[in-house]
Amino acid sequence: MASQPTAATPPRDSVNHGLRFVVAWLVLSVIATPLVVIFVGPILPPGSMTTQAHEQIYDNTWLAAVSTPVLCLVVVFLVYAFVYFRAPKGGALVDGPPLREHAGIQVVWIVITSLTVLMLAAFGTYQLLQNGSGGGQGPSPVAVPAGASHNLAVQVIGQQWEWTFRYPSFGGVETHELVLPQHTSVTLHVTSLDVVHSFWAYQLGVKADANPGTDNVAYVQTRGPGTFQIRCAELCGLFHGYMFSTGRVVSATQFQSWAKTQEAIYKTIAKYVPPYAKTYICPAAGTSPTCSPQPTLRGG
């Protein structure tokens, strides 16, 4: 057994460590937080192509701003402790002062962390309920933007391993490219034909899981024109990595002419495609006329 250190408490330091630490932390936080907001905020994803995406940037910037003082707190504390509370090299083993607890510090800590957490939750809830933040909300959405019943509806169908899009207001036309008009409110109905996929339109700030037999609704309000990336964000089998595509936000007139062209092309093949439906997998095979019996997912 190693020799037990003497219990001699080291003489009380002449400096007020607590005050020095708090000042160092506050100074660093006051400097770092605006820098994060100014320089890191704008490069946070996912862009400003839609209202939802723009608000996600705002959200991400807020969270980064709240995180910065917390990061500073722990890092400054650790560095301060390493510098000032390091045991001298080669010296005899000395015990520190037996400080067991301090009610004031505990109360302050609990109050501050609780307030921060409640504030973040309230902020996130407010942001979410405004317009759904582009997330999939299931068949009966709660965070519905105003006037959503007049939205352009677009169905997103995931299957192994590609995305298909249908426009019910244009005769259920089916395309392989997602084209949206600018400055328009869009309702995306996401569903799947086989396994779970996740529709991730990055620049639109949209992510919604595609579930077989479920109509997962997400809202998005487009802004300026541009192109966006679509990827599958839920592991869906062998070619999950290849399940990507691109889309465009175009002007209203371009969209109308594009849709009319697609509709004309589609007319010739419409009879081979199942009629437009909210989902394409029925609970019991053959009970619904719009729902053809699915082949069994697995042979044998």
Binding site: D59, P98, F123, G134, P141, G241
Partner: protein, 629 residues
């Protein structure tokens, strides 16, 4: 106090052909074939048969169940009940076997089981790590490079499943089994045979998962989402069996820990004198007992979907994939804290020793551990924020997820304040504990982004969430796992580990861990989903950086492995009883700890954190009454 009983050493032939690992493997393989052909005989020749491209799932399940039963019989798990049924008196003879043979069979000495766990889990940890190296090798190029899509997904799935399933017992297996009885002043666990069973079940499970490569692997990753699960080839059955067996092992391990801690504490060891590590084990164990059965249930339904054509999870048969997702994450989120909580406990246990101060705010630290345990049941749907289920519940799950940072904050303030005005010694275990603060902080702060629904819409399912949970699990659990190894292995084996190599291991691991996982936050923010083998060309530089860092991280693990083998097998420098001048009771015993731990059951008069409060109290007062056992 010293070991008084010289262990019994049976003759060498008895050690080779008795009930041990060798007979276990032989009977295991035999049982596998009995199950395989038995199931074929039952379902008849009209279904798939041996050698077909796709296998008859029933045969796969029955083969592995037969194999596990044979393995356990070969190890001798039926000897005791058989002897009791035949009227022989009960005995704990397994415990009395001496020598190296103890480590290759059923042994009811909790210290032997702890060391078995350490090597067994270490083996699978390295297999899982090797999978990660291969994944990063494939991701050196943005397009398909070496592995086929199926092989790549199998690597991803094996890495995730191996790490989650094995490292769930990563601290409780080796360290709690070894230390909890000593720390609470007991001579054994409450259920010594169950303790041995948990270890051997986990090893059988690991072997089963490894054999998935002979059945075509599995494409689902560690989450096993339906209906991809039911679509997959027979390798999926190995996943189901692995996780179900690991779940059984976890449930039993947790039950054993709770029973031991609640009933077998020595006189004077009140709840508020319990080492904080034991509190961490208790909270983790309660999560294990309640969460793992949900996993076993959901995987049983998966197995039925695959083998018996039920449709719990297939929309076309009236089922729902949401059922799977909910049940899986009801297990899956407590599982995350099964991984994280032992890390909290080890940090709080080790800081007082190396800061030479009492643990600051003991009651707050306990409240933190229990608060995380409780809240971890109420957050699981944050994994399903964009899945389209219960849109109106999302604010609640956002709140509950963010609330969990309050008890986590208790751990931080208690740990940090323990350092305050201490006499910090930067030993290797201490360095790993200090790294925990930084890693887990980044993991926690990125978790705030994921818990916030608007932010989660972008980050969910991307490399951002992957970086987040590697910061919490690797930065939180694996770093403390190594802290525990450097701190307790000299006590467990009686030999020192090389300190210079330990420091090299720490610094390379810390630097390359951050260099590997910090850029993944950016990669996720820049639109790269998880589990892809094809990504945007613009992200190649970042991905290559990550891959090279990951290879360096792997090299760092090899340094550790070299240190372990070099120090324990070749140098064999004896460790002193108390190398860290710790006040904890296990360091008041000789190294390695004698077979029966204590000659007399100790009587406790304080917690083990009284640094600066005088000499270590007398644990074993003269004339103390002999305890239980």
């Amino acid at each position: 106090m010293t070991a008084v009983t010289a262990p019994l050493r049976p003759p060498i032939w008895r050690r080779l052909v008795g009930f041990n690992l060798l007979t276990g493997i032989v009977l295991g393989i035999g049982g596998w074939y009995v199950g395989w052909f038995g199931a074929h005989a039952v379902v008849g020749p009209s279904l798939d048969y041996f050698g077909d491209v796709d296998y008859n799932e029933l045969s796969v399940f029955m083969a592995y169940i037969g194999g596990v039963v044979g393995f356990l019989i070969g190890l001798g798990f039926l000897n005791y009940p058989a002897r009791r049924l035949l009227g022989y008196p009960p005995s704990l003879r397994e415990k009395e076997t001496g020598g190296w043979a103890r480590y290759f069979g059923l042994c009811t000495d909790h210290k032997v089981v702890g060391i078995q766990y350490l090597w067994g889990i270490g083996l699978f940890f390295f297999i899982g790590g090797l999978n990660a190296m291969l994944i990063r090798f494939e991701l050196l190029r943005p397009t398909h490079q070496v592995f086929s899509g199926g092989t790549y997904l199998t690597l991803v799935g094996m890495h995730g499943t191996m790490m989650m399933g094995m490292m769930s017992s990563g601290i409780l297996g080796p360290f709690a089994n070894y230390l909890v009885p000593i720390m609470i002043g007991a001579r054994r666990m409450a259920f010594p045979r169950v303790e041995a069973l948990t270890f051997w079940l986990l090893m059988a499970a690991g072997a089963i998962l490894t054999t998935t490569i002979f059945f075509g692997g599995f494409p689902t990753g560690w989450t096993g989402y339906e209906p991809l699960n039911v679509q997959a080839a027979a390798g999926m059955d190995c996943y189901i069996l692995f996780f179900a067996l690991a779940g059984i092992s976890m449930t039993l391990l947790g039950l054993n820990m709770i029973a031991t801690i609640v009933t077998m504490r020595a006189p004077g060891l009140t709840w508020m004198r319990l080492p904080i590590f034991v509190w961490g084990v208790l909270s983790t164990a309660s999560l294990m007992v309640l969460a793992a059965p949900v996993l076993i249930a959901v995987l049983s339904m998966s197995a039925l979907d695959r083998a018996a054509q039920t449709t719990f999870f297939s929309a076309s048969g009236g089922g729902s994939n949401y059922l799977y997702e909910n049940l899986f994450w009801v297990f899956g989120h407590p599982e995350v804290y099964i991984l994280a909580l032992p890390g909290f406990a080890i940090v709080l246990e080790l800081l007082p020793v190396f800061a030479r101060k009492p643990l600051w705010g003991y009651r707050l630290a306990v409240a933190g551990l229990l608060g995380v345990t409780l809240l971890s049941w109420m957050v699981w749907q944050h994994h399903l924020f964009v899945s389209g289920i219960n849109g109106d519940l999302r604010p609640f799950y956002m709140l509950s997820t963010e609330l969990i940072s309050i008890p986590t904050g208790f751990t931080f303030i208690c740990g940090l304040m323990t350092l305050w005005r201490g006499q910090i010694r930067f030993t290797v275990p201490m360095l790993f504990c200090l790294a925990w603060f930084f890693n887990f902080l980044l993991g926690g702060l990125s978790g705030v982004f994921l818990s916030d629904v608007p932010s989660d819409v972008t980050t969910h399912g991307s490399f951002f969430s992957m970086a987040h949970f590697h910061y919490t699990i690797m930065g939180g659990l694996v770093f403390t796992f190594f802290a525990a190894i450097y701190y307790w292995v000299p006590k467990m084996t009686g030999w020192q580990l090389n300190e210079t190599l330990g420091k090299i291991h720490f610094w390379t691991m810390f630097v390359f861990f951050n260099s590997t996982f910090a850029p993944l936050f950016a990669i996720g923010f820049l639109n790269q989903p998880r589990r892809v083998n094809v990504y945007a060309h613009t992200l190649q530089f970042l991905n290559d950086w990550v891959s090279v860092s990951a290879f360096c991280l792997g090299t760092s693990m090899l340094i550790f492995l070299f240190n372990l083998v070099w120090s324990l097998a070749f140098v064999k420098k004896p460790a002193v009883a108390n190398p860290w001048a710790s006040r904890s009771i296990e360091f008041q015993l000789p190294s390695p700890v004698p077979v029966h731990n204590f000659d007399r059951i100790p009587v406790f008069s304080s917690d083990p954190y009284g640094y600066g409060e005088g000499p270590v109290p007398q644990w074993v007062p003269a004339g103390a009454p002999a305890g239980r056992d």
